[in-house]
């Protein structure tokens, strides 16, 4: 189950930049979100998996589908796919080896429980504040664009 979800997620992430049709790219992004939701189910977190489906697919992906329907095909070669795959593996391998391998030992690293507790739990109100401010940015951008269009 983990292997299937991982393969689906990574393949869909690569396919986003392989296709020239934006609708297909949006569908591939929604597939990545579904794969992340399946991985949350594997971690026995059904509520978070459901929230992931509601928010990322029901909300964000739907909005992206409506927005991307403006353009049918990307008429230019937007991504060098071979370069993308090569650089992705070049960056991923040191990250995985450096941070992930270190977490299996006894040394104090960024992913240990004490470090995570101290970093995250003290900053929780700031996360809420950041979330509210960003929502304001999103809504404000819609209002400004509507005024710009109306002005033209």
């Amino acid at each position: 189950m983990f292997c299937a979800s991982a393969i689906i997620g990574v393949a869909a992430a690569f396919y986003i930049f392989r296709t020239s049709n934006m609708i297909h790219a949006m569908i591939a992004f929604a597939t990545v979100a579904v794969a992340v939701s399946m991985l949350m189910l594997i971690l026995e977190l059904p509520l978070l998996a459901l929230l992931q489906l509601f928010i990322m697919i029901g909300g964000i992906s739907t909005y992206m589908f409506v927005g991307a329907s403006s353009e049918k095909l990307s008429k230019f070669k937007h991504t060098n796919f071979l370069l993308l795959v090569t650089l992705a593996f070049i960056i991923a391998i040191p990250l995985i080896y450096g941070l992930a391998m270190g977490s299996s030992g006894n040394s104090q690293n960024l992913l240990s429980s004490t470090m995570l507790n101290s970093y995250v739990s003290s900053d929780l109100p700031f996360f809420y504040l950041i979330a509210m401010m960003l929502f304001g940015v999103g809504i404000g951008s819609i209002v400004i664009m509507k005024k710009l269009v109306a002005g033209k």
């Binding site: 983990f2 991982a6 997620g9 990574v10 986003i16 930049f17 790219a25 992004f29 990545v32 979100a33 991985l39 949350m40 971690l43 026995e44 977190l45 978070l48 929230l51 992931q52 928010i55 909300g59 964000i60 909005y63 992206m64 409506v66 927005g67 403006s70 353009e71 230019f76 937007h78 991504t79 370069l83 993308l84 650089l87 992705a88 960056i91 991923a92 990250l95 995985i96 992930a100 391998m101 299996s104 992913l111 429980s113 995570l116 507790n117 995250v120 739990s121 929780l124 809420y128 979330a131 509210m132 960003l134 929502f135 940015v137 999103g138 809504i139 951008s141 819609i142 664009m145 269009v149």
Partner: protein, 100 residues
């Protein structure tokens, strides 16, 4: 050992997003690559919290979802405006914004 698999997968997806944001020339795909990075961050946070510390992950996840939603809201509006103005999606040609 299974935590290592989740960390490796989230780093793989993260690196795809990073490289795609750096190499792609399409405006909308650059935005989607940021969404991929946020998805990888969500996966990593859920995996580490479920295995290492049983703290409250929901508030952090709501912040991450809010980042993703607000970013895509703003960018899709700009994208629709660019399409309506018949601007090119190639970011190398965005110097034409000065004509707005």
């Amino acid at each position: 050992m299974i935590l290592l698999y989740f960390i490796a997968l989230s780093f793989m997806i993260f690196s795809i997003g990073i490289v795609a944001a750096a190499t792609t020339r399409h405006f909308l795909l650059m935005i989607i690559s940021v969404e991929i990075i946020i998805s990888a961050a969500i996966l990593l946070s859920v995996a580490t919290f479920s295995y290492i510390t049983p703290g409250d992950i929901l508030s952090l996840l709501f912040a991450l979802w809010a980042v993703a939603a607000s970013e895509i809201m703003g960018m899709i509006v700009i994208y629709r405006y660019m399409c309506k103005s018949e601007m090119s999606m190639d970011v190398r040609k965005l110097f034409k914004l000065q004509d707005w």
